[in-house]
Every structure is written in structure tokens, then in C-alpha cells.
Symmetry: C2
């Protein structure tokens, strides 16, 4: 059990691999630059008003329809998809339909999950169902999912069919993960194994697909694609473990989220379930507090002051939930990087996939 007294603001993962920040920024920017114009063109195929609702969701226009330059996210998936094509010896461009299809599925799930979860904010903006109503959130989500199949299958190649099949499998896992998330909301106790399985479905599956889809489109065999997918799956789990740390101890200035964000939402994230699974007085005290919290209305809970959340965060840390999750991020990072050793790759691609894995665990937003 940890008795560490690390404060918020410090890096959440003690591991500091040699990440060349400028290199990773360039990789992410390249993925974004290749993907965004195609994504915009595909979304523009939607009939009004679905095209505008989608453009609002992606942060391209505001609620009044004026062009904006909203935060469009880290773009890890597009970077992975174009690298994935190069992993198979194909040009980066061969991965672009895969990158676009994965982004479409990711955003389809955001639109529907925000509505199912009643989340009113995403990336500092009102969610689609808040602005355009529940029906548009459902409908435009459906339309993005359909567009994802369209952009792959219209390529008309055998490879595109295989890519579409992998994307469908990943989407089914995404849906399984959301089903688990909804079920766990109503449960008092969730095990670490259940939490990891849910995160594997919700985050791992689509990151895994991003990492293999470019290679599949570029003509890679199943073994290569499966190994890249394994890298992506563990990368996704590392990514989510770090997200769960940032959700409690992240610097609000960097993450753009409220302090103690996941605690405010009573999320049963990894640090929480790991702390509850531990033995000892901090774990028992935490369990007692959270059981009492569960009985409170959202309004009562909102009235909590900073100290009350800080007390819960301190108990999670004392019970070892923070350390366990940091170690889990490092374990998943190591497993991801090890998978890369099992597949023949151009050396530059291997170095870039490794750099992306390093970035995922040291990022602060």
C-alpha cells in the first residue's frame, strides 16, 4: 500500500521513457492532416440537417453554424492508422480510409454514449443531444456508423472487405463495453477484472483496430494484422489507465476537465476499483464513504466542496489505487512494445510506434 503524498500537477506516471515530444507532435499532426480533409468530405455527404449536426459534434462549427476551431482531440487513432499502412510497406495514404472509418465509429459511439450517460459536456462544449436534441444525436450517430462502412466498402477491394470486418468486430466490442458500463453504474461493487474487461472493450478494441486497419488495407497478412492489433489493444489499456489517473489527479489546466472530474461523476474507474479491492483501513474507509455517496442525489453530490473530493482521492491513493494504476499503465505499455518485436516492420515505423506508446503513458492531457 502506498503512503505517497504526491500532489496534483506532478506527472501521473512515474515512468519517463525517452519521448521526443516534437517527434510525436509531428506524427499526430501528420495523421490529422491526412485524415481531416477526407473526414470532412465524407461527413459532407450527409443530408441536412445531419451534416451540420455532425459538423457541430466534430467542432468544425458552433451551435449557430459559424466556423470554429474547437479542440479536436489528440488524434492518436488517425496517427496509428496511417502508421499501420506503412507497417505493411504501403504508403501512409493507403491507411486514410481506415483512419476515417475508425474516427467515424469513434464519434458515432461518443454521440450515443453521451446521450445514454446523460453527459452534457464534451471538450468544453455542450454535447449534441443538449444542443440539437436526443433524436438528432441518435440519428447522426447512426449516420456516422453507416458512413464508416460506406467509405471502406466503396473501395471495392478484398482488403477493404477484410478491413470492414475488423472494424465491425471492434464496434461490437465497443457496444459490449458500453453495455458493461451501463450495467456497472447500478452495481455497488465492480472487480478490477471487470473494469479491465470493460476498458478493453471501450478503449482497447478501437485503438487495436486503428493499429491494424491500415496494414490490412495495405495488403498485410492476418498474422501481421493480428500482432499489430495486439500492440494496439495493450496501448489502449495503457491509454485508459492514464486517462483514469488524469480523471482524478490531472491538472485541470492541461486536461480541460474539472478537478477530481471522475470522482464528481462517481466513475468506477481503475484507481477506485483497485483501491476498493485492496485490504486495510484506507480501503474500508473509502468503501464506507462511496457507499454513502451512492445514496445521495446528484444535486446533493454537486454541493460537495473541494475538500470532500480531495479526501476521497487521498483515500484512493493511501489504499494503493493510484500506484496500482500507474503500474498497470507501465505493464500494458511494456506488453504493447513487446508485441512489436514479434513482427517485421520498417525500422522508422517501429521507432514511431514505440514513440507513440511512450507518449500515451507520459501525456498530461
Amino acid at each position: 500500500m502506498s503512503t505517497s503524498t504526491q500532489n496534483r500537477g506532478e506527472p501521473v506516471t512515474p515512468v519517463t521513457p525517452a519521448v521526443h515530444t516534437a517527434g510525436v507532435a509531428a506524427l499526430l499532426e501528420r495523421g490529422r492532416a491526412l485524415t481531416t480533409p477526407v473526414l470532412r468530405a465524407v461527413v459532407a455527404r450527409l443530408a441536412p440537417p445531419m451534416d451540420s449536426v455532425a459538423a457541430y459534434h466534430f467542432g468544425w462549427i458552433d451551435a449557430e453554424g459559424r466556423p470554429t476551431a474547437a479542440d479536436s482531440g489528440k488524434a492518436v487513432r488517425p496517427a496509428l492508422a496511417v502508421l499501420s499502412a506503412e507497417a505493411a510497406g504501403a504508403p501512409a495514404e493507403a491507411g486514410v480510409p481506415g483512419a476515417v472509418a475508425v474516427e467515424l465509429v469513434h464519434n458515432f459511439s461518443l454521440l450515443h454514449d453521451d446521450l445514454m450517460d446523460g453527459d452534457e459536456q464534451r471538450r468544453h462544449r455542450d454535447t449534441v443531444w443538449k444542443v440539437h436534441g436526443p433524436a438528432q444525436a441518435i440519428l447522426v450517430g447512426d449516420a456516422l456508423f453507416a458512413l464508416a462502412g460506406e467509405i471502406l466498402l466503396e473501395l471495392g477491394t478484398v482488403e477493404a472487405g477484410r478491413a470492414a470486418r475488423r472494424l465491425t468486430a471492434a464496434t461490437r466490442k465497443l457496444i459490449d463495453g458500453q453495455a458493461q458500463d451501463l450495467a456497472y453504474e447500478h452495481r455497488e461493487r465492480v472487480s478490477v477484472a471487470e473494469c479491465l474487461e470493460m476498458e478493453g472493450n471501450k478503449t482497447g478494441a478501437l485503438l487495436a483496430c486503428a493499429t491494424s486497419i491500415g496494414a490490412v488495407l495495405g495488403g498485410a497478412d492476418d498474422r501481421t494484422a493480428d500482432t499489430l492489433e495486439r500492440y494496439g489493444h495493450h496501448l489502449g489499456l495503457a491509454f485508459q489507465a492514464v486517462d483514469d489517473l488524469l480523471g482524478i489527479w490531472g491538472d485541470p489546466v492541461a486536461t480541460g476537465k474539472q478537478t477530481w472530474s471522475d470522482l464528481r461523476q462517481r466513475k468506477k474507474s481503475l484507481p477506485v476499483v483497485a483501491a476498493l479491492a485492496a485490504d486495510g483501513p484506507a480501503s474500508r474507509e473509502l468503501a464506507r464513504l462511496l457507499a454513502a455517496d451512492a445514496g445521495k442525489s446528484d444535486a446533493e453530490f454537486m454541493d460537495f466542496d473541494e475538500d470532500q473530493f480531495a479526501a476521497r482521492a487521498a483515500l484512493i491513493e493511501q489504499a494503493g489505487g493510484r500506484d496500482w494504476t500507474s503500474q498497470e499503465a507501465r505493464r500494458q505499455h511494456a506488453t504493447a512494445v513487446a508485441a512489436l518485436a514479434e513482427v517485421e516492420l520498417p525500422e522508422r515505423v517501429r521507432a514511431e510506434l514505440t514513440a507513440l506508446a511512450d507518449f500515451v503513458v507520459v501525456r498530461e492531457r
Copy 2:
């Protein structure tokens, strides 16, 4: 303009082609028998509780989870999909994955549309969102859509990729149609052309896909598939025109719906928009009444007695909306049957596709 005084209970379409009822019943039963076991097995792939929610939606279990034998619909699409395979000279079984995929997409759209439209009943039962909540309706709809892609793409053939592409195109039209339906709800006037376009998207596209998907899986070329799709599109428009007639003048005992069902829901269906588009005193009086209705709350509207709906139905008929829609059903039927002449088909298949088209226009439920 018609001044006919036909009563409810009479056939809604004056045309009576030589339909061999027993033969059509056998065709529908064959499609159902080939499709249902595979559909059930595919739905059983869903993780709990999605499998039960889907089974409830399909009418296989009741809200308490007990097996039931609820009305599972007419099963026109499965019958078309297996006939479609035979149209390409393949065995009926080759069309089954297509039939299942089309049924999955159809039911995905029902789950989401019922929630978007706030419909509380379907086939005499509470809708999924009423019984299991909006989140499950969204999630299980998504899951059925994903399963549709899965069952086709796991075949792993070039033909399956082409079939999946056609299904995706049809799904996009389905979504376009629902977007139009939602938009028209808030408009005072909808033109006949707009109504026909919406019905082509909401009903024509998936029926068209059902009619070509078996042939595509059976190895047909694009020209054959396109011609079959044209037959299916016009069949779908004929089907919907008849549905719109049954929605006002159908016999409640046969349809299982309330009297004046579409009028109670203030649907801008074909007979209504055709009547409003006509000239003359009945059309103007109808427009006046419907404009006043639009200002009423649902509760006020529910208090209407039979006579008030009967008066509206009589005005629609006097303004020619009923006759125009009957003629439209016959026009679409004739165009569908004419398309069949443009393609080489085994004679039995041609006869059966013709019999199904005849059935669609004379059916009373």
C-alpha cells in the same frame, strides 16, 4: 375528385390481380422458416442484457423473459431475399445471410425510430424504450446494425463485400428518410413529391436491397442486381401506399391498429398530402381543420371522438386523396412488375416475384 362513399372494411385497393393466397402464404412461410433460426442464432451472440432486450423486440420473449409467440410481421423481406438468390440461379439458402442482415437493419431502425418518434406501441406490445429504457433501445439498435455487417462480412467472399456495400447504401437512405420524417413533423405543408421521396427512403430502399442482396450473394452481375433492386424499390412504394391507405381506412380487426390510426398520429401520409395538394372545397376545408389540429396538444387531440376522425377521413376521400393513393399503388405495382421483364429469371421465380407484388397491393393487413 372522388365523391365515393366506400366504407371501411372494403378492400382499400380496387385492383384485384389474380393472387393465389395459398401460394403467397407458402412463399412467406418459406422465407420465415429459412431466416428465423439463423436470425435467432445471430441475435444470441449479443452479450446480456442485450440478447434479452433484442429477443423482446423480436417478440420471442415477453417483458418478464417468458417465451412468447408474438406477431412477427409479414416477413415480406426474408421471402424476397431468398427468392432473390434463386433469381440468380443460386439455391435459396445462399440468400439467407442477406435476409438476416436486412432483418437486422430493419429492426435496428425500428428500435431507434420508435424512440425518436416517442412511439409507445408496436405490434400490440410496448416498445423497447418503454420497457427497457431509452439507453437499451439505442444500444441494442446499434448492436443489431453491427451484427448485420458481421453476418455478411464473416462470409469473407467478394460477393459478401458487394452485398454489405448495397446494404450500407440502403441503410443510409433509411436514415435520410427518418431525417425527412422528423423534419416534416414540424412543417405545416409537405408536398406529394417530398412524401414520395421520404417513403422511397424509409420503405423502398430496404425492400429494394432485400430483392437484390440474395442475387448478389448468389453471384449475379450488377445489371441483374440493379434491375431486381428497381423492382424492389417500386414494390416498396406500392407497399407503403397501401400501408398509408390501411392506416386510415384499414379494418382494425385485420391491421391490429386503432381505427383512423394515422389520423390519430397526425401523420402526413400520402392520402393526406395528396388531398391537400388538390383544389376544391373539400381540400380547403381539410386544410383548415388540420391547421387547427396542429395547434392542439396531444391530450386535447386524444379526446377527439370517432366522428371527428371520420369527418377528416371523409374530406380526404372527397378531395381525392384516397383514389390518388390507390392509383399510386397500382402505378408502382405496374412499374415493379415491368422491371422484372428486363431481366432473365427462372420462370418459377418470375411468377413468385409477381405473386408477391400482387399480394402487396391487395393485402388487408
